[in-house]
Assembly symmetry: C2
Homo-oligomer: 201 residues x 2
């Protein structure tokens, strides 16, 4: 069996293909609506072969969350971290987020907003994984804001400002998917701008 970097290539490629499709499906139909049979049919492989890669549906769901997290990190977080810390990075993070939603990196809009609502009121490993990701994201936003505060570019409670900004993002994402128009993004952009200006010193 061909190996690269100690990983088996054939199976790993299949895994990647499965997860790439899985995140798209889950962003539209949720992690519950993500069914193994449908996934296998879509990819033209056998249900049992696909199943063998994960061992259980829950493990597939957790792997899908990890895959989505990587895509999210690449699309939203990394580009913002390339900008110098401070207010500029805060702005960039917002632009990246709205672009990430608008450009439908996931066809159903923000993957995590979708599945977080799906599992918010349930128990289990999937819920716990989503709690961790949400906590990570809010901490990241808070830290990015704090850098701007520490530099004297903003005067605000980092947690509070992060809460507000995140609220705008999510409201825009839902409005866009639900109504199929772009007006939510404009409203969010304006809210972000006003909010940052009022916190500017």
């Amino acid at each position: 069996m061909e190996k690269v970097d100690g990983r088996l290539v054939r199976g790993d490629q299949t895994r990647r293909a499965v997860l790439r499709r899985a995140v798209d499906i889950a962003s539209v139909d949720g992690l519950e609506g993500l069914s193994i049979g449908r996934l296998a049919t879509d990819l033209g492989i056998s249900k049992s072969g696909l199943f063998a890669h994960f061992g259980s549906k829950e493990e597939l769901q957790l792997a899908t969350i990890r895959a989505a997290r990587r895509i999210y990190a690449d699309a939203v977080v990394m580009p913002a971290l390339e900008v110098e810390p401070g207010l500029a990075r805060v702005r960039k993070l917002g632009e990246c987020w709205l672009d990430y939603s608008r450009r439908r990196i996931f066809p159903g809009g923000c993957f995590f907003q979708k599945v977080s609502h799906e599992y918010a009121a349930r128990g289990g490993a999937v819920h716990e994984a989503l709690v961790v990701v949400h906590r990570e994201w809010m901490d990241l936003m808070e830290n990015v804001v704090r850098e701007a505060v520490d530099r004297g570019e903003l005067d605000a409670d980092p947690a509070q400002l992060a809460f507000d900004l995140n609220a705008y993002y999510e409201a825009a994402n839902l409005a866009s998917i639900l109504h199929g128009d772009e007006s939510g993004y404009d409203q969010a952009s304006r809210s972000i701008r006003v909010r940052l200006e009022s916190a500017g010193r």
Copy 2:
């Protein structure tokens, strides 16, 4: 057959009981997770008898949305409309909303936030019904804000302020359900207060 107000009593009571349970289930597991068999078992009635009341799962889902809308109107909208129009009503609407979420009128938090995300990226009658309800709600908020603007108690674009306030509500609701703590409500209250103060004249 006994009649009251032209309605058949026996069947209507069953319908009500079904829908009362249905909204609770759907707020946790979604309108897709709402299964007829489980609903019937929970209520101690037969699956086929329950099914006969609605004729299809989609019709049950639509009826569940209408039932939830009534509960929402009673818990959130009506109490706010008892306050005089203007800034006081804007504030009251916010308090009612956060209370509605905090007190778990639906055990899974806001019913409409849950199922709107569930059906946001899908087609069909359920999606359309949820679009209408969302539009109704945003229009209501906008009008309540506009009354305050017309009275000179606020200086703001009603649609923009409604967008922001709604964003705070939903962010608080999700944070509360996902993490099981109340801190999101405090953050939302503070954001609402600050936002209204900055729009005060």
